[in-house]
Amino acid sequence: MEKSIRKATIAWLLTAFLVFLVMVTLGITMRLAQGAQVSLSPTTFYAIMTMHGLGMAGALFSGGLAVIWYITSHSCKVSLGVSWAAWGLFVVGAVVLLAATLLGGFGPGWYALYPLPFVRPAWPSWATGASIIALILMGVAWLIFQLDILRALAAKWGAKRLLAWEYIAGKTPEEPLPAQVLIAAMCAIAGTLGTLSGAATLILYLLKWLSPSVELDPLLLKNTMFMFGHTIVNVCIYCGLCAIYYVLPRFTGRPWGVNRVTAIAWNATLMFVLFAYFHHLYMDFAQVKALHIIGQLASYGSALPATAVSIFGIGSQVYKSGVKWSFTPLAFALGAIGWAVGGVGAVVDSTIMVNTYFHNTLWVPGHFHTYFLVGYVLMFMGFLHDFFKSSAERFAVGSLVTMLLGGYGFLLMFYLGGMSGLPRRVSSYAAASFGGLAEKGATLATLGAAFAIVFLLGAIGFGFSVVKGRGAAPEAGASPDPAS
């Protein structure tokens, strides 16, 4: 059983990692085009942009779900059939999406604001239909995968216990609830709600595609689309944290359980993550004002449990623990740092007053690439290294350093671009021919591309390190090594 579960997990992890590498290459291509180093037609640029965004979010979310599924399998009976079915649906969806974007030219951006996909598209109608169907297939894949995780958790621990409310009520249960159960449940619940919102949106899109005379409300659909997009990208990070809560104690030798504070924090996080997405709509003045304020409140609020519980939790795991900084704990720690740094950029931009200046500028890809690229992705790699029992420590750590140099350099160019007022999602800055914007945009993009190439080399290096060292690490990470 353990073997077949590992096999299914490997299918997910490899898919996610390979898609990630391909999408990084597409990202570099975009940055090179924005820097006028290569020339792409706008249609190609936006098709690549759409694929990159959807591919990254989709692959990394899938990878995150696979991580919590695998962790859940250690204490619960998960369904292998569901996992493979979901994987199959996801792969079919991904292949169709690749064809619809890169061959068909589908390019309304990853959140495809209604009615953009349907108005004067630069691509054939089949590409729109195929993309919508592909996304629905992926949505179904995530839905069944998450529901199976929840079912398995509930069967073992009881549905009532999953969110650790007993701890909040002040009881100390006889059988303590492991932290990874609470976090996996939280991920699957938030993810399911987000996915449902996405599914509803996409079904309306499908309807619109089938009968073009249907009129839908753009503001409502922007809300439901961001409830989907925002939620799943945030859940990625919580999946990464689930891995850290579960794996890190093996390296530090310190148990990490649920207590009242953790329980409150994760329940609060669940609430905040579902309402923070309103910050994507600050510049829609027609939106009900109270929702803007809820958006800022939820965004600010999420900083408290995230840092005070998870970041401090990692701090107290490692501080004076005698941990040996091998790849996995190192990648976890650095991932947590990247998450926190990206979080700063996010909270700053979630201030309505500031959002006037940063909304849809390069600041936005700046902050979310931070908590992905040097945050969640590092957590994910930390998990991979441990999962495959890789012994290629030096190789992996060297790759990590390369990724950090390339990653932070690449990100800095986004932040500087945002502070210069450069809009995001343009194939070229040339038309902004005032105040030196066009030149600044191109220069920052070229530098960003160069740093991103360094990142890519590091990421490929990490991949090789796992291939080379797999299966050869001594069991169970490291108890402190007296020799070092």
């Binding site: 004067r120 027609a286 409140l297 501080y319 309505i352 200046y357 040339a430 005032f434």
Partner: protein, 175 residues
Amino acid sequence: MIVQIAGLITLILSLTIFAVAFFVMRGARERVPDGNKVVYKVRKYYAMVLALVLLGTFSTTLLYTPYKALADTTPAAVVKVTGHMWRWEMEREGAPGPVVVPQGATIEFAVTTSDVTHGFGVYDDDGHILAQTQAMPGYTNRLRMVFDKPGTYHVLCMEFCGIMHQNMVASLTVE
């Protein structure tokens, strides 16, 4: 100004995170049972300070949202803005032709679109973004602002709207 402050705050907090992380990670190598008690002590203060800072920032910045800005003034000029794929149509009410608005007075931009969502971003000639709002089908977003200096101002599209999105620029004059 706000952009610089926001950037500076982000930089300082990021560097603080790196510094603290470096300190904690260096202090991790030595094993001291219960050596991490201090982390929980620090956390108490940290949580209190963070909560206060967030609450303070939340309540002060909410006084400066663009929704209520200049709501109690009467605009000296209303400019009707309509986004099209891929150009801006702008007309000052009662004054057809290129848009010219007075300096130092409240200007209202009534922003909408004839097709898909666009973003109406106003820049000064030095490339600084001054304000923005979305142009969404079926809705009119009213953006009020005051231009302090005369000169040429620019409009960029701030919401991806299709293949010529990057070329959707326009300008207006302030006298």
